[in-house]
Symmetry: C2
Subunit: 224 residues, 2 copies
DNA sequence: ATTCCTTATTTTGTATACAAAATATACTAT
DNA sequence: ATAGTATATTTTGTATACAAAATAAGGAAT
């Protein structure tokens, strides 16, 4: 007898973590969380020792991170954590601005009511964190909000690209919310997003999200 | 005495090709040119032998291609050439449509007159190839045209993402121009682009380019 | 015949070993 | 001292070797 599962099998399957995947994830976190500062040379010997793995999976992991744009591999001269220039950051934000504009429009067309509610719920959580001044939790919810909008836009390629750029900018944007008035204006923009979401006004949502990202540039540019 | 070079040094430096880079390039070409068909399992043993390299650089190359989205690595189960579903292709074209729309707008704002002339020259070459029925040279010029528009948009991130998606779609799009009337309509759209470029009308160019990509979907969807 | 289990064989993952660069160090000549 | 050069050391790149999975093959039991 044939079972008809409500979920596609891929979704359920436990994905096996190979060593190089784990290493890639680990180093990615080290970079994003600032433990490996931009410009730092990645010392294979010591890092390999600290992680307790051999060079093979380590180097494979580096190749992945290089393709993601987090590290630069200079042949025969070792790898360094990629240092973003102001121009790099601007170009990423400019692009992200347009990507999230698109995502905002598509979400309003394609997401289910339940999904929209989920986003609004997330927004409420963010507000709460803001009122209580919890910067880190707010920041994480914020990332989650933007990721989820891209996810619910129903375009996998868009989601991938958004995720990649967001990851690259993670550190820098965290620094951006340091000043209270910057934070306040970011929250105000999120209020507008929530309002547009409620009305499923894709044009408005897209506009606000794009603006939000371009404002982010103003909020972070002095930290470069 | 200080020399002031008109070119940044990085541009001049000869970049050393490591083995894994060469391997990555080679396999990438094999995939894009269809010698390794989508869904094909990538047999390390034989491929390594054919290329005359050891497994180490080969596997590093695979990780790069995986990050680029050309192959899928299934832990402990080998790698396969990524097979694009209709949905994958649609999502890429939808995204590319918006990216090139943006690129078109930016080119009109940011490119120099000489650069615009270069693009128009490229367009003329394409027309010539079209009149003479040279499909492959036309196709290559076409890729070059789209790449260069993204390049001249002056946003490095945009350029990278556009290049990546274009590479992934390369095979499929080549198939798309097979029917003569499809080709004709693509050329007509390119005529509009040239006209908009001449006037530096970013809005028009963006609109045409976006439309061009969405029409591409209609031209390729039956080959999936 | 079909299912299940056991044992080979192949394939993949990781560690180590060796080769080739690059960098650092020490020395010489000016 | 300084520049230059030769040698030693470290670091990176590649190949090979070994371990661990996964797949295939071959029966035995139902």
């Amino acid at each position: 007898m044939e079972l008809s599962s409500p979920f596609p099998l891929e979704t359920v399957a436990i994905e096996k973590q190979t060593l190089h995947d784990q290493v890639a994830n680990r180093i990615r976190d080290l970079i994003i969380e600032g433990h490996l500062a931009p410009g730092t040379r990645i010392d294979e010997t010591t890092l390999v020792e600290q992680l307790g793995v051999s060079r093979t999976p380590f180097r494979e992991a580096l190749r992945t991170l290089a393709a993601e744009g987090l590290v630069i591999i200079r042949p025969s001269k070792g790898s360094v954590v990629r240092k973003l220039t102001a121009q790099d950051v601007f170009s990423m934000l400019e692009l992200l601005s347009h990507l999230e504009k698109l995502a905002g429009q598509l979400v309003c067309e394609r997401a289910s009511d339940a999904d929209i509610d989920g986003l609004l719920k997330l927004h409420e959580d963010m507000l709460k964190r803001y009122r209580e001044g919890d910067r880190l939790p707010y920041y994480k919810l914020n990332q989650e909000f933007h990721s989820r909008v891209s996810e619910l836009a129903g375009n996998e390629s868009l989601r991938e690209v958004q995720a990649n750029i967001q990851a690259r900018l993670k550190r820098i944007r965290f620094l951006g919310n340091s000043k209270p008035d910057y934070w306040a204006s970011a929250v105000a923009e999120h209020e507008q997003m929530a309002a547009a979401l409620k009305k499923r006004d894709g044009e408005a949502l897209g506009r606000v999200m794009a603006q939000h990202l371009m404002n982010t540039w103003d909020r972070v540019k002095d930290n470069l």
